[in-house]
C-alpha cells in the first residue's frame, strides 16, 4: 500500500506502517553514517548529550557526494545499514523512531524496533541522483571534519522509501524473497 507520511515519525505513525508499504516521506530527517555513529556512541559513553534531538528522530544512513553550485546536495542514496547495527538499538531505546538505509539488519536491531515501535525503511540503493531530487535543503549540523560523514539535517519532499521491518518485526527481505524463490 502507498502512504504519504510526514516527519516526525511518532509511534502513532509507525504503528500504521506495514512491511511492504511504499512510502513518500516529507519533512526533516537527519543524516549519519559510520564515523558519526561511532562519535555519537562515544559521546553517550562519556555521559554527554547527543548532538541531534533523538526523540522521534529519523536517521538516513547516507554520505552524499559534494553539491554543485546552486544545489542543496550531490548524489544521495542510502548506504548499507548493517554497519550501523552495533549502534542502532541504543539509539532506538533513546527515542529514535525510524531508519532509512539498505540491506539486512541483525536480530538485535529488529528486537529494538519491536520494543520501541520503530520502523526500518529501505531506499533504492544506487539511485543517488534520483533520490537527491527529493532533498530540498541540507545543512551540516556537526562533525564537519568528517566530510561526507558529517551529521546533516535534510528537508525532504516525497522521498520514496519502502517499509522493510515494521513495528511488529515483519521483514520484507525475508518474505519477498520467499515469494519469488524458485530453487
Amino acid at each position: 500500500m502507498e502512504q504519504k507520511i510526514t516527519t516526525p515519525i511518532t509511534s502513532e505513525v509507525s504503528s500504521k506502517l506495514h512491511s511492504g508499504d511504499y512510502c513518500y516521506i516529507t519533512g526533516e530527517i537527519y543524516v549519519a553514517r559510520d564515523a558519526a555513529h561511532k562519535r555519537m556512541n562515544e559521546a553517550l559513553e562519556r555521559g554527554e548529550e547527543l548532538p541531534i534531538p533523538i526523540e522521534n528522530c529519523t536517521i538516513y544512513y547516507m554520505g552524499p557526494s559534494p553539491a554543485r553550485e546552486g544545489r542543496p546536495i550531490g548524489s544521495a542514496g542510502p548506504t548499507t545499514a548493517s554497519r550501523m547495527d552495533k549502534y542502532a538499538p541504543r539509539l532506538l531505546d533513546l527515542g529514535m523512531k525510524a531508519m532509512i538505509g539498505k540491506g539486512k539488519r541483525t536480530p538485535e536491531v529488529i528486537d529494538a524496533i519491536i520494543r520501541n515501535k520503530g520502523v526500518y525503511f529501505a531506499a533504492v540503493g544506487g539511485a543517488g541522483a534520483l533520490l537527491s531530487k527529493c532533498i530540498k535543503s541540507s545543512e551540516v549540523i556537526c562533525y564537519d571534519d568528517l566530510g561526507a560523514e558529517a551529521i546533516r539535517k535534510l528537508y525532504v519532499e516525497d522521498f520514496p522509501a519502502i517499509v522493510v521491518v515494521d513495528f511488529e518485526g515483519n521483514n520484507l527481505y525475508e518474505t519477498a524473497i520467499k515469494e519469488f524463490s524458485d530453487l
Binding site: G103, A129, L130, A148, I162, I177, F180
Partner: protein
C-alpha cells in the same frame, strides 16, 4: 619509439574518473532495459524503472549515478615499446584521480589507514594493477568500485575434489549472503584458478568485461549461463525486495592453478557497474 608525457595521462585519468561516475557503458544500459521487460515482480519493475530514471538524471544534471563514487581501481596495460616521460606513471594516475574527484564533485571515500581512518580528502591513493604487453600503447581501464557490494565479495579455497559443483555452490553462497546489501541487480565477477590473489584479481577484472564478449572456453560460457539463471531464481530481486532480476550478468575468468587447489573468488558489483577504457 612512441613517447607519452605524464601530463596527458593525468588529464586522461581525470576525464575518465568524471565520465565513469556519470555514465554507464552501453551493455549495462541495455541489460537494465531488458530486465524491466522480464522482471516478474511489480515492485521490482518499479525499482528497475527508478534505476533507469536515475541514469537519465545523472546524465542530464551531472549528478553522480551513485553517491559512493568508489575507490578508483585501474588496470593498466603498458606496451613494452612505449616510453613514458615527465615523471612516474603511478604519480600521474594518482594526480588524475585527485583532480577528477575534487574538480568533478565526486565523493572522497578513501582513508589513509584501515585502523586510524583519516580521510585523504582527494580519493587517493588509487589501486593500480600493471601489466606489460606487446606494442607501444598505454591502455588504461578504470573501474570505480563502491564498497556496499565490495564488502559482500568472497574467496573460497576449494579442494580439487569439489570440482565444478563446488564452484557453483560457492558462487550461489556469495550471492545469497550478499542479498539486499549489494544493491541488486548485481553483476557477478568470478575468478577461478590461479592462486589466492590471482583469483581475486581475475574476479575484479571480469567485472570490466563487456557482456557481449563471451568466454571462448565452452564450460566457462556454459557456467556463466547456468549461474545467471540460478542466481535469478534465488528470489532476491531488485533492491533485494523480491523478484526475478537478481543479477544482470555473471562474468567468469579462469587461469591455470596448482595440483592441490581450486581457488574461487567472487567479486560482487551493484547495478552501477562502472568501467571505462582509454587507449593512448
Amino acid at each position: 619509439m612512441k613517447t607519452i608525457n605524464t601530463t596527458t595521462i593525468c588529464d586522461t585519468v581525470k576525464e575518465m574518473c568524471i565520465h565513469a561516475n556519470h555514465y554507464l557503458s552501453e551493455d549495462m544500459n541495455s541489460a537494465l532495459n531488458k530486465a524491466v521487460d522480464t522482471e516478474k515482480s511489480e515492485l521490482g519493475r518499479k525499482i528497475l524503472n527508478q534505476l533507469k530514471e536515475n541514469l537519465d538524471i545523472a546524465d542530464k544534471e551531472k549528478i553522480p549515478i551513485c553517491q559512493d563514487t568508489g575507490m578508483a581501481v585501474f588496470f593498466v596495460e603498458i606496451g613494452q615499446d612505449l616510453h613514458i616521460e615527465g615523471g612516474l606513471l603511478t604519480d600521474a594516475i594518482n594526480e588524475g584521480v585527485r583532480k577528477g574527484y575534487t574538480e568533478g564533485y565526486l565523493r572522497k571515500s578513501v582513508v589513509s589507514d584501515p585502523i586510524e581512518r583519516i580521510n585523504t580528502k582527494d580519493n587517493t591513493p588509487a589501486i593500480i594493477h600493471y601489466d606489460i604487453v606487446a606494442g607501444d600503447n598505454l591502455k588504461i581501464t578504470l573501474a570505480p568500485k563502491g564498497f556496499g557490494s565490495e564488502n559482500m565479495s568472497r574467496i573460497f579455497m576449494l579442494k580439487p575434489a569439489d570440482g565444478i559443483e563446488g564452484v557453483k555452490s560457492a558462487i550461489l553462497t556469495a550471492v545469497k549472503d550478499a542479498g539486499p546489501n549489494a544493491c541488486p541487480p548485481m553483476v557477478v565477477g568470478v575468478g577461478i584458478g590461479g592462486t589466492f590473489e590471482k583469483s581475486a584479481l581475475m574476479a575484479k577484472q571480469a567485472l570490466t568485461r563487456e557482456f557481449s564478449a563471451r568466454p571462448t572456453i565452452p564450460w566457462v560460457k556454459e557456467l556463466e549461463d547456468e549461474m545467471l539463471e540460478k542466481i535469478n531464481k534465488l528470489g532476491i530481486g531488485p533492491g533485494g525486495l523480491g523478484g526475478t532480476t537478481t543479477a544482470l550478468a555473471v562474468n567468469i575468468n579462469t587461469y591455470a592453478t596448482h595440483i592441490a587447489g581450486l581457488p574461487v573468488a567472487i567479486n560482487i558489483c551493484c547495478h552501477v557497474n562502472r568501467h571505462i577504457t582509454r587507449t593512448l
